[in-house]
C-alpha cells in the first residue's frame, strides 16, 4: 500500500485521514450555516465522524501490520458506535 513508491502505507493513510477530517469539518460548518443545526446535534455528528475516522486509521493500520482480525473487530467496536452517533446527530440536525 505504498504511494507511488514514495510514501509508506502509514504516510498515505494519514494523508487521507487529514482529507477526511477536513471534509468532516466542512460538513459541520455547512450543517451550522445552512441548516442552523443545534450545537448538540453538531457535537453528536463530530463525535460520530471522529470515532469513524479513528477506526479507519485503526483498521488500515491493522491490515498494514498483517493482523486483519483486528481490523474487522475494530469495525464492530469502534466504527459502528461512531456510525450510530453520527446518524443520531444527523437526524437531530435535519429535524430542525
Amino acid at each position: 500500500m505504498s504511494g507511488l513508491g514514495i510514501f509508506s502505507g502509514i504516510e498515505v493513510l494519514f494523508f487521507w485521514l487529514g482529507v477526511l477530517c477536513l471534509a468532516t469539518f466542512q460538513g459541520l460548518v455547512w450543517l451550522r450555516w445552512k441548516l442552523e443545526a443545534s450545537w448538540l446535534s453538531l457535537a453528536l455528528v463530530a463525535a460520530g465522524c471522529g470515532t469513524m475516522i479513528f477506526d479507519v486509521a485503526w483498521a488500515v493500520s491493522s491490515v498494514l501490520e498483517k493482523e486483519p482480525q483486528s481490523a474487522s473487530m475494530s469495525v464492530l467496536v469502534i466504527f459502528l458506535p461512531g456510525l450510530i452517533l453520527a446518524v443520531m446527530g444527523m437526524r437531530l440536525a435535519w429535524k430542525q
Binding site: S8, E11, A57, S61, S62, K66, E67, P68, M88
Partner: protein
C-alpha cells in the same frame, strides 16, 4: 408528541426512541461494569510513567546472592538432560521445515565466533578488556557527557535499548561456570566494577508470532548473536577510553534486575522484563565496567505492568507446560507445593515461574517455546495504535486492564501455536528488497 405516544396508556412504560436510547446507554454501562471482574486489582505504584529513586520491587532483608550453578539451565545440564536437541526438520509442518531450522542454527553463528570474547550464554568466561587508552590523559568532561556518549555508542553498535545503572553486587552470582568448573565471581571479574550498562535487542514480531517453533527461536537466538557483537564493540570502545570492561551477556549476574534498575522496564508475571516499546519481545545483555558516573545513572521506571499482570493472565493461561502461576498477587518466594524449587532465589516480591517444567517443555518440543512472549498483550509491532494503547494503559485504573486484555484476544493478537504465521513471515508479498518500494 407523535402518534405512538398519544396511543400509549397513561403510566405504562413506553419504548419510544428516547427511552430506547436511555435503555441502550444503561445496557452499555451495565455490560461494561459486568465485564470487569470483582477481583480486578488497581495499580499501586502511581499513575502514568513513574520514576523511582529506589529499586521498585520489595526485597527481603534475608535475600542472598546465589550461584550460577543453581540456575535451572545448569541444574538441567547437571542432571544429564538437554533442553535443546539436534535439528529435526519436518518439511510439511509450518515453522519446522529445513529452512526454518537453518535460519535458527545460522542465527547463532556470530555468537559462536565470539564465544571466547563476549559470550552471550553462561558457561564460558568473557575476556577482560584492560584499559588501552589512545590518550592516557583523556577524561570525560563530566559524567553527563560520559552517560550520553556511552548510550550513543551502544546504539551505534546495534543495541535497540541502553540503560546505565550502578553496579549492585546483590544481582551478581556468587560463582560463575566455566565448562564444568565454577569460579568465585570476584576472582574472574579482573577489576572492581562500578557501572553496569544494560543493552536490549528487539526480537522480530513476525517470527515471534510463530512460537513455539524453530522459526520463532531464530530471532531470539539472533538476539544472542547481536548481544555478542555489540558487547565486543562496546568493551573495546570502553577499553580505548581507558576503562576495564567485560561483556558476559547472560552470565556473571541476573540481567533482569539490572535492566529494571537501569530503567528499561518492569518485571512481569512470566518473569521476563517488559519494556514500554518492545514489551517482552526483547533480549538483554550487560557490560560491567569501572567507569564511574556519579549521579548520572538511569532511574528505575514503572508504567503499570504489575497491575496489568495481576488482571491479565494470558501468559499463565497459554503456557503449554503450566509453569507460570495464576496467583493474583506476587509473593516473596516460590509456592510451597512440595517441589524442590532450588532454582528460584527467594526474597524478592514477584511471580515465581517453575523453570524446571518450562525447560522440560523446551526439551519435549525441541524449541525455546516463548508462548508467553507471543501471547503477552505488551508484545506488539511498532505501530501508532499500539503505542496509543500502551500510553492509555499507563493511566487506566487496574480493573480496566482486564477489559483491555480481553479485547486484545478478541482483536486476534496473542495467538500461540499459530500455523499460518510462518507463511506470513516468509511471504515476499508487500515487501521490497531492492530499495525501490515505499
Amino acid at each position: 408528541m407523535n402518534s405512538t405516544d398519544e396511543k400509549a396508556p397513561g403510566n405504562e412504560a413506553r419504548l419510544d426512541r428516547r427511552n430506547l436510547l436511555k435503555l441502550g446507554l444503561a445496557g452499555t454501562a451495565a455490560a461494561l461494569t459486568s465485564a470487569l471482574p470483582a477481583t480486578a486489582q488497581a495499580r499501586e505504584d502511581g499513575i502514568g510513567v513513574v520514576k523511582h529513586d529506589e529499586f521498585p520491587m520489595k526485597i527481603s532483608p534475608d535475600y542472598k546472592r546465589f550461584s550460577e550453578a543453581d540456575t535451572s539451565f545448569n541444574r538441567f545440564t547437571r542432571a544429564g538432560k538437554s533442553f535443546h536437541r539436534k535439528p529435526k526438520p519436518e518439511e510439511n509442518r509450518p515453522g519446522y521445515t529445513s529452512y526454518d531450522w537453518a535460519l535458527k542454527v545460522a542465527s547463532k553463528e556470530i555468537h559462536n565466533a565470539l564465544i571466547n570474547l563476549t559470550p552471550a550464554y553462561q558457561g564460558t568466561l568473557p575476556k577482560v578488556f584492560k584499559p588501552a587508552a589512545f590518550n592516557p590523559d583523556f577524561r570525560f568532561k563530566d559524567s553527563a557527557m560520559a552517560h550520553a556518549v556511552i548510550k550513543r555508542a551502544a546504539r551505534h553498535f546495534g543495541a535497540d535499548l541502553v540503560g546505565i545503572t550502578r553496579h549492585d553486587p546483590r544481582w551478581d552470582y556468587t560463582h560463575v561456570r566455566e565448562g564444568k568448573k565454577y569460579h568465585k565471581t570476584e576472582d574472574v571479574m579482573g577489576f572492581v566494577p562500578k557501572t553496569v550498562i544494560v543493552l536490549g535487542y528487539e526480537v522480530d514480531y513476525e517470527t515471534m508470532r510463530t512460537a513455539p517453533s524453530p522459526l520463532g527461536d531464530a530471532s531470539q537466538i539472533d538476539g544472542y548473536s547481536r548481544m555478542s557483537k555489540t558487547a565486543l564493540q562496546m568493551v573495546s570502545f570502553l577499553s580505548k577510553l581507558g576503562f576495564h570492561a567485560i561483556g558476559p551477556g547472560n552470565g556473571y549476574g541476573l540481567t533482569i534486575p539490572y535492566a529494571i534498575a537501569a530503567g528499561l522496564g518492569e518485571n512481569s508475571r512470566m518473569g521476563l522484563l517488559v519494556n514500554h516499546k518492545y514489551g517482552p519481545r526483547l533480549r538483554l545483555g550487560k557490560i560491567y565496567t569501572d567507569l564511574e558516573l556519579d549521579e548520572y545513572y538511569d532511574k528505575p521506571t514503572t508504567f503499570g505492568v504489575e497491575s496489568f499482570c495481576k488482571n491479565c493472565m494470558h501468559c499463565a493461561d497459554n503456557c503449554p507446560s503450566k509453569s507460570i502461576p495464576h496467583d493474583k498477587e506476587p509473593s516473596m518466594g516460590p509456592p510451597d507445593d512440595g517441589q524442590d524449587w532450588g532454582f528460584s532465589n527467594p526474597g524478592i516480591r514477584k511471580w515465581y515461574v517453575n523453570c524446571d517444567t518450562c525447560l522440560q517443555y523446551w526439551s519435549d518440543s525441541n524449541t525455546s517455546c516463548s508462548s508467553c512472549v507471543t501471547t503477552c498483550p505488551y508484545n506488539k509491532p511498532y505501530f501508532w495504535h499500539h503505542r496509543l494503547i500502551d500510553k492509555v494503559n499507563t493511566i487506566l485504573p487496574g480493573p480496566l486492564h482486564k477489559f483491555m486484555a480481553d479485547m486484545d484476544l478478541l482483536h486476534g493478537y496473542g495467538q500461540t501455536f499459530n500455523t499460518s504465521a510462518p507463511a506470513v513471515f516468509w511471504d515476499a508479498k508487500g515487501r521490497e528488497y531492492d530499495g525501490f518500494g515505499g
